[in-house]
């Protein structure tokens, strides 16, 4: 059963976040089929348990967020993210493109690792930015990126994220 969003409490330290708690094994794809940015967002959103209408709304706000500035932060990593009233709780989806995709990242390199982060506008544990920061911290480490590129299962991905956050 989905859990509700309730008013936020104080900010959370990224070091205390356990990313794997927000990542369902069903929300992991190790072989993205998409080759263009809009298709990638669609494929990422499809990893979350959402209705067709909710997917459409999610893609709309994600597209707007990308229009403000690419969420491709370099080093082959992109973290598309958004908040919307359609989300009951904070969720992460992870997808990997072995060949890499042109995503207008800040370093103009192709992106292989994608983390989708969605959240209600206000969530109980106030972890939205802490989760973003934790993903940035994990993926800054070349060893973690290599492990994520080589992971063979969703369980392994969750293990890397759970252990490294």
């Amino acid at each position: 059963m989905r859990q509700p969003a309730v008013p936020a409490t104080k900010a959370v330290e990224p070091s205390t976040v356990r990313l794997a708690e927000f990542l369902s094994p069903h929300s992991v794809s190790l072989s993205l089929k998409a080759t263009e940015k809009p298709e990638i967002l669609e494929e990422l959103v499809s990893l979350l348990p959402l209705s067709d209408v909710d997917r459409r709304i999610a893609l709309g706000i994600l597209g707007q967020r990308e229009a403000v500035g690419s969420t491709g932060i370099g080093m082959g990593v992109a973290i598309p993210h958004c908040r919307s009233a359609i989300f009951a709780n904070l969720q992460i989806a992870f997808a990997r493109s072995p060949r890499g995709i042109a995503y207008q990242a800040i370093d103009r390199k192709r992106v292989q690792l994608f983390f989708l982060v969605v959240s209600p506008p206000i969530e109980v544990t106030n972890q939205y930015h802490a989760v973003l920061a934790a993903i940035v911290n994990v993926t800054k480490d070349a060893h973690n990126r290599k492990r994520l590129l080589e992971a063979e299962s969703a369980v392994e991905v969750r293990s890397i994220l759970g252990g490294a956050a």
Binding site: R56, R83, P121
Partner: protein, 116 residues
């Protein structure tokens, strides 16, 4: 799903995004410090205007009044509870609206309800 309700949710999301990335906001500073460039914030304004143009004056006025008062205009409903006032909704409202085919409001605060 009701088309106007979908527009209201999208507008609510955009208004929140607009405020999140306003000059000097903590959220904008946090995102930039994490390495997310926010170079084209004006794009959100354009998208807001496009959605506003599709809503009736009556709905838009209601949206603006609620958003101005509460800083959000949409509340999700889970298991019969509206997550704005955290009150159980009257059973007749909950029973007839769960498909989001019509626009319903919280009987306590007036926010637009979205049944998850």
């Amino acid at each position: 799903m009701n088309r106007d309700l979908e527009l209201i949710i999208r507008l609510n999301d955009l208004e929140l995004l607009y405020r999140e990335f306003a000059d000097g906001s903590t959220s904008a500073a946090t995102e930039e410090s994490l390495g997310f460039p926010l170079a084209k914030r004006e794009k959100v304004s354009i998208a807001r205007a496009e959605i506003r143009a599709q809503l009736s004056r009556r709905l838009l006025s209601r949206f603006d009044t609620i958003f101005h008062k509460y800083h959000k205009a949409v509340a999700p409903v889970l298991n019969g509870v509206a997550y704005c006032c955290y009150e159980k909704l009257p059973i007749n409202l909950y029973a007839s609206s769960t498909t989001n085919d019509e626009i319903t409001s919280c009987p306590y605060c007036g926010k637009f309800l979205y049944f998850l």
